[in-house]
């Protein structure tokens, strides 16, 4: 018998939360890719930076995490993510791109960066625990979610994360399509040699896009922290799935990445409820479903969702 209440609680709510998290993380990775052509292995770490910034800020302010307080910290998470992303671009990627580094070399540099950020976060985490007694390891942000009477925490998170995702998408849409900077940024992505010839400082445009990438991913880190334990591995462990979302989305459009995130989130939850559970397969297999999807995507439509949409438009 179909039970609406179970369906909402076991399928819709978790699917929305997962999807929003992967969508938020995919926005940044897609932007990294379309601006500077780097499938960055350090992308997940930007989310971890956002999560840790939230922690330290809230512990510094309140000595702990109070209901609703993560939203107070959201600007800090965005700022921290933006700062680290900006430094990565200016300090590592920009000089390497200027020297003509190949995609593979940039990918290796990005995992060097992953090691670096990951190591620093872990050390800071230990210091926070041993010196200041802040128990940040394996903590969850769920207690920092706002409380709405009559709704469970998951339901609230499903709503808030959707609102945040929509707000970010609206802001990005406005920025890209309604501001001069947005036009310049799209121009730099579309035809960089011409942009340079027209006197656009393409590197500066990319640097600003990295600020945006870091800010959005830092915010994604807060929501990751609501359902996964916060450690320095918070983002890194999600990275393969973020890659899946981005590839399925087509690596060429932010909105494609969001759709990819939704495909990852829903396929995992639906697969868990309607394939794994009835067949008595271990729940961890839900990770394998998006992996299977990406392998199928590469076999059948390497250009992903965005490619399919573009192809339809052409015909």
């Amino acid at each position: 018998m179909f039970n609406m209440y179970d369906f909402l609680n076991n399928v819709v709510i978790p699917a929305i939360v997962y999807s929003n998290i992967y969508a938020l993380a995919s926005i940044g990775l897609t932007m990294t890719y379309i601006t500077t052509k780097i499938p960055s292995f350090a992308h997940g770490d930007l989310a971890a930076v956002g999560a840790y910034a939230t922690f330290y800020f809230l512990y510094f302010l309140f000595g702990g995490i109070k209901p609703g307080s993560v939203y107070l910290a959201m600007p800090i998470a965005a700022l921290a993510g933006a700062a680290v992303a900006y430094l990565s671009y200016i300090g590592v990627f920009k000089p390497m791109i200027r020297r003509g580094a190949s995609v593979t070399v940039l990918m290796i540099a990005s995992f060097g960066l992953h090691f670096l950020i990951f190591g620093i976060l872990a050390i800071l985490d230990s210091i926070a625990q041993t010196v200041y007694g802040w128990s940040t390891r394996n903590y969850s942000f769920s207690t920092g979610e706002v409380q709405i009477p009559g709704l469970t925490q998951s339901e609230v998170t499903a709503i808030t994360s959707s609102v945040v995702l929509l707000l970010i998408l609206a802001a990005l849409y406005y920025l890209l399509n309604r501001t001069k900077f947005g036009v310049v940024m799209r121009a730099s992505i579309d035809n960089a040699p011409l942009a340079r010839a027209l006197g656009i400082d393409v590197e500066r445009v990319y640097a600003i896009s990295w600020l945006i990438i870091g800010a959005v991913t830092g915010i994604a880190g807060i929501y990751m922290g609501m359902i996964f334990p916060v450690t320095e591995e918070l983002g890194w462990l999600r990275l393969p799935l973020i890659f899946v979302a981005v590839i399925v989305g087509g690596l060429s459009s932010i909105y494609g990445g969001v759709i990819g995130g939704y495909i990852v989130g829903w396929s995992m939850v639906l697969g868990f409820n309607y394939i794994l559970n009835p067949l008595n397969l271990p729940p961890e297999y839900q990770l394998a479903i998006p992996f299977a999807i990406v392998i199928a995507t590469l076999l059948l439509a390497p250009q992903g969702i965005a490619g399919l949409i573009a192809a339809r438009r052409r015909t």
Binding site: K180, V183, V184, R186, A187, D190, N191, A192, P193, L194, A195, R196, A197, L198, G199, I200, D201
Partner: protein, 240 residues
């Protein structure tokens, strides 16, 4: 004082030497045409002026300012507009295909104060009424002639003193090409000096005041356009 003065310029791309000791002057308010066979280095000369090629020695002075070592954006600020060939030597078109006509013009007005940019935009759309109708269409859906008109308008957005055009009529039907030529004349009448690279030498010499002929990276002729007849041009190009 000439608007553009190039002295003993040697330039190319990295290891690839293209220009050998080019010296030339373009006066204010004239249309100078640059002719020569493919591979003579015409586009490279324009790229060098725009700051997009490697300069080994020599100097480029625009409006009394030495721009030999300046960046592309500095050169634009001094007043050099550049409409590249399409596709250019980076393999890209001279417009932004994914942007609308209007957005293309906005992108080309980077660094111009808001009100001046809006004025320039209206002016550009006034120069080519066709573009005004199409201003919200993505550039990739424009015809060849419309694309060239858009590219020329983009070159005008910063109100340059010198506008360089690289083969603006390549691949266009004769009727469309002559529209482009008359547009070039009206741009000159706005007081903008023009340096034009053209395949269609006959047409170019008709509208040009001064002509240069380049062959294999060297300047072979420099003088009034009227004095360059076709026979002479033919001999220059054929290397005899």
């Amino acid at each position: 004082m000439p608007l553009l003065k190039i002295s003993e310029l040697n330039a190319g791309y990295g290891k690839f030497h293209v220009l050998n000791g080019i010296s030339l002057e373009v006066e204010r308010g004239e249309i100078a045409v640059l002719l020569g066979p493919n591979g003579a280095g015409k586009s490279t000369l324009l790229n060098a002026i725009a700051g997009l090629a490697t300069i080994y020695s020599g100097s480029i002075v625009v409006d009394g300012k030495d721009i030999t070592r300046s960046s592309p954006s500095e050169i634009q600020k001094i007043g050099v507009g550049y409409v590249m060939q399409s596709p250019n030597n980076f393999g890209t078109p001279n417009i932004f295909p994914e942007l609308t006509v209007r957005e293309n013009l906005v992108a080309a007005s980077v660094g111009v104060p808001q009100d001046a940019a809006e004025k320039a935009l209206e002016e550009a759309l006034g120069l080519f009424p066709k573009l005004k109708e199409l201003q919200n269409r993505k550039a990739k859906f424009l015809s060849g002639g419309e694309r060239q008109m858009l590219a020329i308008s983009m070159g005008l957005m910063k109100r340059p003193k010198l506008l360089m055009l690289d083969e603006p009529t390549a691949g266009l039907a004769p009727k469309v090409a002559s529209d482009v030529f008359s547009a070039i004349r009206s741009i000159r009448d706005m007081g903008i000096t023009i340096l034009l690279v053209e395949q269609n030498a006959r047409k170019a010499l008709e509208i040009g005041d001064r002509a240069f002929v380049m062959v294999t990276g060297r300047l072979r002729y420099s003088g009034p356009a009227k004095e360059l007849d076709e026979e002479k041009l033919g001999r220059l190009i054929m290397g005899q």
